[in-house]
Every structure is written in C-alpha cells, then in structure tokens.
C-alpha cells in the first residue's frame, strides 16, 4: 500500500493543479495577513473560505483522479497487489497531497508572520486540522460517487450536488426546520444536526474555539456548553474521524467487488 501511496502522491504532487492549489493558498495567506494585519482576524476570514472551498476541491480532485487514473488502476489490479492496498493507497495519495498543499500554502505565510509567537496558534492549528479532515472526508465521499458511477458526467454531477448539499442546502433545511419547529426544544436536535454535517461541525468547532460564540446567541450558549467542554470537543474531533472512516470503508468494500 505504501508504494501505491508513494506513486499516486508523486504523480499528483507533480501535476499542475497541485501547484495551482498551493499557490492559491500562499496568495490567500499573504493577502489576508497583509490586509488584516491581525492573525486572529485572518484566521476567521480563512475559516469562511476554507470551510466551503476545501470540501469543493476535495470533491473535484477525488472524482477527477478516479476517472483519470482508471486505466492505471487496471494496470495495478493485474499486478500481484491486494486490491484494498491499491485503492487505499490511491485515496491517501490524493487526500494527502491536497492536505499538504493546504498546510504548506497557509502555514508558510503564517509562520513568516510570526505565528509561533502569537496566541492564535491553536486556533490556526485547529483550522488546519479541520481543513485536512474536510479534505480527507470529501475526497472519500467523492471517490464513492465515482466508483459507483461509470459515467463521468453523472459522477461529476452527483459529486457537485453532494458538495452543494453539505455546503449550502443542509444549512437551509436546518434553519427552516428550526423555524418550523420553534415551539419545541431544539437543543439536542440542532446539536445532532451539526454533528451530522462535517462542514457545519468544522465551522462550529472553529467559531467556538475563537470565542465568538456570543455572536450565536442562545444556540451559541447551548453549543458552548457542549463543544466547550473537553468531552464535547473530543466527541466533535472524533466525529470527524468517523466521517472519514465510513466513506473509506464503503469505498474499499465496493472496490473489492468491482469488475475492471
């Protein structure tokens, strides 16, 4: 598996798109720091961008990689290698190289700006942590869509819809249901609903860590009492792991049964 990982990673790291992605983050990091002149404010702005953009990039790269490397995958399957090693290796290669672009692209400007001397370092680390997880989660989800759809156009369509659902529609439905059922106690419901969407989960985690939950009013207080504790924080971080493991395992199960 490590060999497959090495070669997928190598293949991707040298592709033009990885550089574009890396350069984008570098530019973003430097611009934000230049404009804001304040690390913690830059972290908030970054969060808003990362929370939407990272899942989108993970989704698109996942689908694109799967379809582009189909013939190569066939070549590998005919070699004496276990199938699950091939697919797991490729997945880690894609998600790993994307995460690397993210961490390097944002890390370099922030470190140059004096991140290590700043109090915002843990906020920033949390931001990169959730960013990396979002990459791993959405790459895995989109690989699932790709492996179930032979037709590229359909695969791309479903993948974008999936992203749209988690990034935009989910919040809309969530808000609507809060309004419709406003007469009922909704604490548990809204907590669960947040845990069930990795994007919302990441956003809430970072907002609460930044201690601006007062902006969130009553719900903020409820969330603070959950996410603010070590237990709540731990559960949320674990949920991100669960969100990664489930799509990876369905992906590997399908890969074992698929004809090439």
């Amino acid at each position: 598996m490590l060999k497959i990982l090495k070669y997928s990673f190598y293949d991707l790291v040298r592709s033009r798109w990885s550089y574009v992605y890396l350069l984008f983050y570098l530019a973003l990091g430097f611009t934000l720091l230049f404009l804001n002149n304040d690390l913690s404010k830059a972290v908030i702005t970054l969060m808003n961008i990362i929370i939407v953009l990272v899942p989108l990039i993970g989704t698109i790269f996942g689908v694109m990689y799967y379809y582009n490397s189909r013939e190569f995958t066939e070549l590998l399957i005919a070699q004496p290698i276990k199938r699950s090693s091939i697919f797991l290796g490729q997945y880690l290669g894609v998600a790993g190289s994307l995460s690397l672009s993210l961490v390097l692209g944002l890390g370099i400007p922030f470190i140059l700006y004096g991140l290590f001397k700043s109090a915002a370092i843990w906020d920033f680390v949390l931001l990169l942590y959730t960013g990396a997880f979002l990459t791993f989660i959405f790459t895995a989800l989109s690989l699932n869509i790709a492996i179930y759809n032979e037709n590229r156009i359909k695969g791309f369509g479903y993948a974008i819809l999936m992203w749209l659902f988690f990034a935009v529609l989910y919040d809309g439905i969530f808000l609507l249901s809060l309004i419709i059922f406003e007469d009922y106690p909704l604490d548990t419901f809204s907590l669960t609903a947040t845990l069930l969407n990795p994007i919302d989960l990441s956003r809430t985690l970072i907002l609460l860590k930044l201690d601006i939950s007062a902006l969130l009013g009553y719900t903020g207080a409820v969330f603070k009492s959950f996410f603010g504790t070590y237990l709540g924080f731990g559960i949320s971080l674990m949920m991100l792991v669960v969100w990664t493991l489930i799509p990876v395992s369905t992906y590997l199960r399908k890969a074992r049964k698929k004809d090439f």
């Binding site: 060999k3 497959i4 070669y7 293949d11 991707l12 040298r14 592709s15 490397s69 189909r70 013939e71 190569f72 066939e74 070549l75 590998l76 399957i77 005919a78 070699q79 004496p80 290698i81 276990k82 199938r83 049964k257 004809d259 090439f260």
Partner: protein, 235 residues
C-alpha cells in the same frame, strides 16, 4: 496450469459468459478467438482476477484464485488499451512496476529491441499510440512469470516491431510458458498459435488445433475455416 469450470459472468442483465469450461495444461500458445463481444477479454480478465465471476471456479497453477492475489506473481498481462499516468516518464513507469513486483526483470534488452531509449525521459501523456503499445509490451514481457496473457498485442505496431514481437513470443514459448493471446488478425494466429479456443456468445464453441478445425469444417485454409465455424454449427 489453468482450469476454468462452469464460468458464468453477468454484467447487469447482460450475460457475457455462459458456462465456460477450459483446461490448459501443456505449455504453448493458445489463441482465444471470437467475434466482437463474444467474451474474450472477459475470460482473460476473470483469470487475472480483474473481473469477478458470477459463478464457476478458476484454478491457476493448482490454486483456486478466488480472493487471492499472490498467484499474479506468475502472471504477466498486456492490456488491450494502454493508458498510463500522464505525469510519469517512461523510465519511471518501468522502475515503478519493477518496484511493485520486486522480481528479476529484463527490460534493458526489450527497450533496445523496440527502440524506446529516446523515449525514456518523455512523459507518457506525450507518446504516440504505437509507442505506448511498445511500452505496454515491455511491461508485460520484462518479468519471467509462467503465464503470459496478451490482449490484442498487435494493435498499433509497425511491421518491424510486429516481427520483433512474434520473435519474442516464440522465445517465451520456448521457455515452456503458457501464452494466451486474443487477436483478430488471423495471419498472426495461423503463424503463432498451437491451439485455438473459439468463443461464441459466451460459450466455447471450439477448442483444438488449427488442423482439427480445418478438418472439422472441411475447409482448405484456416481463414475460411474460421469464417465457416462462426456461421454454422460444428461444435
């Protein structure tokens, strides 16, 4: 070496293989023939474990291959469509396959034979179809497994390379290997094959030597015999 029993394969509602029984015990060159869509590639891919059978069993070198992968160490495969990761260069691809298989290999000789030295530093995405096929052939032939499976090996090759390929296949045969070939080029079959396996609509319609086939169909030459067998009942 290869024993296939009652092999069925369905893709959705489309039943591609409908009970294949095939025994290949002696070394030699076996040509798998049949019209388009008769299931040639599917048979090959089930032996390779790329396609999973709906029913039936396959043994390779005395071992049932279901859920196994180590038997592929003895198997070398030339796929029909050659496509590789575009960002790799040719030399890296060879090294990668060598690294993945960890077996003694003889690619230097093959690279020279097909004149691939000038392309070793080219990106795979920029190669012509014929050159890609040569790269493909080198990958399939650089290891010394006991089984060689070639799916349409002649596609895109120029006449000189075709002659080299034939020579190579004969050399491999002389080493006592089993070689499975699918092709639509009948001259190639007539020149190379020891035995023919003719597939039609997912079943084996005929298995035997070229001589058996011409005798059975009462045709004077091989090409007519093949044409005859695909139009009338002889099995």
């Amino acid at each position: 070496m290869i024993i296939v029993e009652g092999l069925h394969k369905k893709f959705g509602r489309n039943s591609v293989l409908q009970g294949i029984d095939l025994k290949i015990e002696k070394p030699g060159i076996y040509a798998i023939l049949g019209p388009n869509g008769s299931g040639k590639t599917t048979v090959i891919k089930t032996i390779l474990g790329m396609v999973l059978p709906s029913a039936g069993s396959i043994e390779v070198l005395g071992e049932n291959i279901s859920k196994k992968w180590r038997y592929r160490k003895e198997l070398n495969y030339l796929p029909q469509i050659a496509n590789f990761p575009g960002n790799l260069i040719v030399g890296e691809l060879f090294n990668m396959i060598k690294d993945l298989r960890r077996m003694p290999s003889d690619e230097e000789h093959l690279i020279e034979l097909f004149g691939l030295q000038p392309f070793l530093n080219s990106k795979l995405a920029n190669l012509s179809g014929g050159t890609k096929q040569k790269v493909n052939i080198v990958i399939a032939l650089m290891f010394n497994g006991q089984l060689l499976i070639l799916d349409e090996p002649t596609t895109g090759l120029d006449p000189a390379s075709l002659i080299e390929l034939k020579k190579l296949i004969k050399e491999e045969k002389a080493k006592g290997k089993v070689i499975l070939i699918t092709t639509h080029i009948m001259d190639f079959v007539e020149e190379m094959a020891d035995e023919i396996v003719y597939l039609l609509e997912g079943k084996i319609y005929f298995q035997g030597t070229i001589k058996d086939l011409t005798e059975r169909t009462q045709q004077s030459d091989f090409q007519h015999a093949i044409a005859e067998i695909s139009t009338t009942q002889h099995a």
